[in-house]
């Protein structure tokens, strides 16, 4: 039987086991939406802005191991989606974005709602396709899912002209696929892993530094096993939090620009560094020249060869799936004679404990004004450390990363690479859709939340009982902090004037709003909010305007040149 292009798209989604798609209809995707209407296997979540559709699908992928799917129409549908796509691309999130396009005969004629989707999205996707013949449609979608979810994951755009969705052809969804031009490496080179084992066992001051690759590669168990075996200290990047249990004594906290003193000092002074699924980002190692002033041997495990020796030259590169490589590493370590240098390790740990004793995350607990750190600490306690936490971008994001102790992977959902303000609420929607019974908190600020605030309406429609923690300091906090430190206290355009009454705003959308102004009210308010299992609760915490995120490695400085409290 012959199926229309629109029917084929829906059948492909069903074949891929996709249960939720996030999107917004429009002219070019009308036939596709008609087919979605006629079935109930693939549930469509209607957002209020295409950017949120992509963010929600992105978080759906981050919080599960599935591929996130978003559907948008041509032209403005696509351009609105670009921020979401670029956000997913920077954090290597497996996604397929189906975009409507004007009919093939109208392409290039500046038709209504036409844009060069493949051209606009090219620099921010892993790959993209324009389908010009309905006969290629099913295979193209298969390729899109395959490319998105294998190797270093990433978003793939499939642009489908409107006439293609009406053309008919036989439907045959390929079970498997191989592409001569795309063959991601899986297993690491055994010889390289052997070299890594030798270095690790010879280390006097070892350090393990892991990133988002451990989360995306589902390698947390293997990482925990490795750390336990070796007894080495471990730090996570912002994207890697939850990859190693934060409550384990081997964990030194997050590293980087707002990393802990102990993590940054250990990173700077180690003699052997094992980097796993991380990319030596500028926010992580600070000034690379300063980083090189200390000699050290570096082992770098990553699935993407282009991530290796990009910013930092490494001694032992291992290209492969982090889980496979860590398993082999553990196997070889078990087989190796002798273990790590116990004496040296003892001395190294005593140095680390001294750094840890600096208590770099301390803040004024006697303040009469609510300290944002205090809110996150209480959030951690009230949710027993078991919530999914999404965040927006800025100071609140850093405090959430520093003070919420993630013990499990895929629980901390934020925009690390692109740093997209506005992701928090749609991220929480995607997480809640994927994990209907889970507790989902969104840590945000009064600036970020307003970038996608319209999604409160989506939350009402789908009865998503999210808990929004708005750390309201009436400033774009991180901008204000940089202006205080580096621009002579000239707070240029960083003050959020004319803020809405968030309590009444939440109520206007049909939710529950709370304003919390005293430290003593923080815990009771959180308890009350999280007890309301069925309601979305918007908690507006009026926090200290002058609070800054410490420690801080200023731009251009080295990791050990932190500004401390």
């Amino acid at each position: 039987m012959q199926l229309s292009g629109a029917e084929i798209v829906v059948r492909c989604l069903q074949e891929e086991g996709i249960d939720h798609v996030f999107g917004y209809p429009g002219g070019a995707v009308l036939f596709l939406y008609d087919e979605l209407f006629k079935q109930d296997k693939v549930k469509h979540v209607l957002v209020r802005h295409e950017q949120a559709a992509v963010h929600a699908a992105d978080a759906y992928a981050r919080s599960t191991e599935k591929v996130g799917v978003a559907i948008v129409t041509s032209g403005p549908g696509v351009t609105n989606a670009v921020t979401g796509i670029a956000t997913a691309f920077m954090d290597s999130i497996p996604m397929v974005i189906l975009t409507g396009q004007v009919p093939t005969h109208a392409i290039g004629e500046d038709a209504f709602q036409e844009c060069d989707t493949v051209g606009i999205t090219r620099p921010c996707v892993k790959h993209n396709f324009l389908v010009k013949d309905v006969k290629d449609l099913a295979l193209t979608i298969k390729k899109a899912f395959y490319i998105a979810s294998t190797g270093r994951p990433g978003p793939v755009v499939v642009d489908i002209p409107k006439d293609i969705t009406t053309h008919k052809t036989d439907f045959d969804y390929p079970k498997s696929i191989s592409m001569r031009s795309y063959n991601p490496v899986v297993k690491g080179h055994a010889g390289q892993i052997k070299k890594a084992v030798k270095l690790l066992l010879e280390a006097k001051r070892p350090m393990i530094y892991t990133g988002g690759g451990v989360i995306l590669g589902n390698a947390s168990a293997e990482l925990a096993q490795l750390v336990k075996m070796l007894g080495f200290p471990c730090t996570n990047t912002l994207m890697g939090l939850g990859g190693f249990p934060s409550t384990d004594r081997h964990f030194l906290g997050m590293l980087g620009m707002h990393g802990t003193y102990e993590a940054n000092m250990a990173m700077q002074h180690c003699d052997v560094l094992l980097a796993v699924g991380a990319r030596f980002d500028d926010r992580v190692i600070g000034n690379p020249k300063h980083f090189f002033e200390q000699p050290r041997q570096i082992v770098h495990i990553d699935i993407d060869p282009a991530s290796i020796s990009k910013r930092v030259k490494v001694d032992v590169p291992v290209v492969g799936n982090v889980r496979e490589v860590l398993r082999e590493l553990v196997r070889q370590l078990e087989a190796a004679r002798g273990g790590p240098d116990k004496e040296a390790l003892k001395a190294w740990w005593s140095q680390i404990e001294q750094w840890r004793g600096r208590d770099c995350l301390k803040y004024d607990r006697s303040s009469a004004i609510i300290k944002p750190q205090f809110v996150i600490e209480k959030l951690y306690q009230v949710t027993k450390g078991d919530a999914f936490v999404t965040s927006d971008v800025g100071q609140h994001q850093m405090w959430a990363a520093q003070f919420y102790k993630f013990d499990k992977p895929r629980r901390w959902i934020n925009s690390g690479g692109l740093g997209t303000m506005g992701v928090g609420l749609p991220y929480a929607m995607g997480v809640q859709m994927a994990n209907p019974r889970a507790t989902v908190a969104c840590v945000t600020g009064e600036a970020s939340i307003q970038m996608c605030i319209q999604e409160l309406s989506t939350c009402k429609q789908y009865r998503l009982p999210l808990k929004l923690i708005n750390l309201n300091n009436r400033y774009m906090g991180m901008v204000r902090q940089w202006q205080e430190f580096f621009h002579g206290n000239r707070y240029s355009e960083s003050y959020m004037d004319a803020l809405p009454d968030f309590v009444r705003l939440a109520e206007a959308y049909g939710h529950v709003g709370m304003r919390i102004e005293k430290p003593a009210d923080v815990e009771p308010a959180l308890k009350e909010a999280f007890a309301r299992k069925k309601d979305l609760v918007f908690m507006d915490f009026i926090t200290d305007q002058t609070e800054n995120v410490f420690p801080m490695v200023p731009g251009g400085k080295g990791l050990s040149e932190m500004i401390l409290v």
Binding site: V118, G119, R122, P123, H127, S181, A306
Partner: protein, 163 residues
């Protein structure tokens, strides 16, 4: 340092812009870029002349390999190779210049492929440096128009780039 890189890629719409976009997005140099389908019409072969430090060239190779449409990448400069470029030059050829131009074309093993009573069009192939030398050797004011293809390269002997 100057490098000449050969790329085999899927002969698909947009493949060229992916490569060009990669170079501009990451700030890599392109001295020249040539591309045409191969004897296997599903594949195109591209020759890119670029320059940069060893680290940059390593990244260029890795980033090219990372493109989904790219099948194979070889840095020809890593071994013995041959490179050729084609140039067409239209030169003024009147009076005593007419004989001189013919002679210069012969010396450089160029061919005159179009003749009018006022000008010659000379076809010249060789490494880029030879084409440069020809342009320097003739009377500058006689040059009316030039067009160059950019370099194409191939490995010597049994260095073969094929799927």
């Amino acid at each position: 340092m100057r490098h000449i890189i050969s790329v085999l890629l899927e002969n698909e719409a947009g493949a060229l812009s992916r490569v060009a976009g990669l170079f501009s997005a990451r700030g890599y140099n392109i001295e020249s870029l040539t591309v045409a389908p191969t004897e296997d019409e599903t594949l195109s072969r591209m020759t890119i002349v670029t320059s940069g430090s060893d680290e940059i060239i390593e990244q260029i190779n890795k980033q090219l390999n990372k493109l989904v449409d790219v099948v194979k990448v070889v840095d020809l400069s890593e071994g013995e190779h041959i490179e050729r470029e084609l140039m067409l030059v239209k030169v003024r050829a009147v009076g005593k210049d007419r004989e001189e131009m013919k002679r210069m074309a012969d010396i450089f093993r160029g061919r005159i492929i179009d003749v009018t009573d006022k000008d010659y069009t000379v076809e010249l192939t060789g490494p880029g440096s030879k084409l440069d030398a020809f342009l320097k050797a003739i009377d500058q004011s006689a040059i009316l128009e030039t067009v160059r293809t950019g370099a194409s390269g191939i490995g010597r002997g049994d260095r073969i780039l094929k799927v």
